[in-house]
Amino acid sequence: MEELLSVINLQKNFDELEVLKDVSFSVKSREAVTIIGASGSGKSTLLRSINLLERPSGGQILFHGQNIMENSFDVNSYRQKVAMVFQNFNLFNHLNVLQNCLIGQTKVKKIGKDEALDKALYYLEKVGMRQFKDAYPQTLSGGQKQRVAIARALAMEPEIVLFDEPTSALDPEMVQEVLDIMQKLAKEGLTMIVVTHEMQFARDVSDKVIFMDKGIIAEEGSAEDIFAHPKNPRTIQFLSRYRQSFV
């Protein structure tokens, strides 16, 4: 299968601090990749670098074989194809649920009104938020907001969706409703990269798991490889708490 996205020797420094040292991995179409690791290991920075919310300091990111860091590259049209779901939802506060799902389609992709509306409602239905289409974000629970944020991302019909700790800001009882939707999407073949602390979820949905430690990929493999037979001592240590309870 074609490599959709390749990250090659990626580096990111914040002044003196090296957050990403030398990261390489690739994602194929219809693959679900999860990135796990301790806080501060560079997971989120890696994900944010992929859609250039952070400008990498070195290395390459190839999308369909094209280097996205070249100056001539059209970042805005790339971002339409690489949607992102944030830890803090970041729904547009002045727009209602439906408008949140429409604005990218109509203003960025310039899709016609009827088609945009159909798509917005379709994806809101998919995340179970269609009946809240007229609600404003401040009236929704965290789990509902994140489901809308997922619908907003999907309404752009992206080729890949990046999830940046999508359940970390949620109350525990709301985590599952979001994970269930993500799992459903993964099963349907949505290409996704998920930074997460939800180990069971990572194990259930991942085609590939990446364990990051101190700015490098310490171990990479199938969910089975990483969770059942981790090799790197850091991976073993990191997963020890999880593995005691589940394996």
Binding site: L53, R55, R79, A83, F92, I103, G104, V108
Partner: protein, 242 residues
Amino acid sequence: MAIDFGKLADIFVTNWPMFLHGIYITVLFAIVGTVCGFIIGLIIGSLKTIKVNDYDKPIIKILKTMMQAVLRFYVWVFRGTPMMIQAVFLYYLFKPLINWTSFEAALVIISVNTGAYMAEIIRSGIQSIDKGQSEAAQSIGMSHFQNLIYIILPQAIQNSFPSIGNQLIVNIKDSSMLNVLQVTELYFQTMSIAGSNMRFIETYLISAIIYLILTSVASFILNCLERKTNHEGKKRHIDFCS
């Protein structure tokens, strides 16, 4: 030191057409100044969000740096000098070039002066918006200006509405400074009336009362508008498809 209240009505009845004309010009200056100043403020506040990036080409870096310097200079000068001096200086400076009337000059000067204050109001309004809003806009492929127009400015304007409205009240009063250009706003009219009847205390008291009524009405309208925008902020339906 005595106020002859009996004279108040007298003076007003005798001179009401002059007062009325003064009110008209003052309100016109205040509204035009605030609306045009708001538009200038929106443009400058938005331009101020354009940051120099490490990966910009050198020429772009230079242009952006120069533009920011010009904008800073504008705000610095117009907030840092009295409008009276700006008025006289600019009126005579441009008079030979564009041959404007003092009335036209007054409209431009109050707008440009208000624009400098509005630029700061809009800039701080933009800064008060959570960074996540911009990131979300970028993540769906919005350009910097789409992000400003559809996401950031609507929220920034709503948040800074009280300060924006306050400029209208300031302008009702500060337009009096434009009397140096001999425009017939309320303060200039008051001077003329008092100069002819020599009843300074009573005439200026009438003027003060008129200003107070104007500012009170303005703040009442602004309060209503503010309540309405806050309310509609929750419920309004903007048709983004059209």
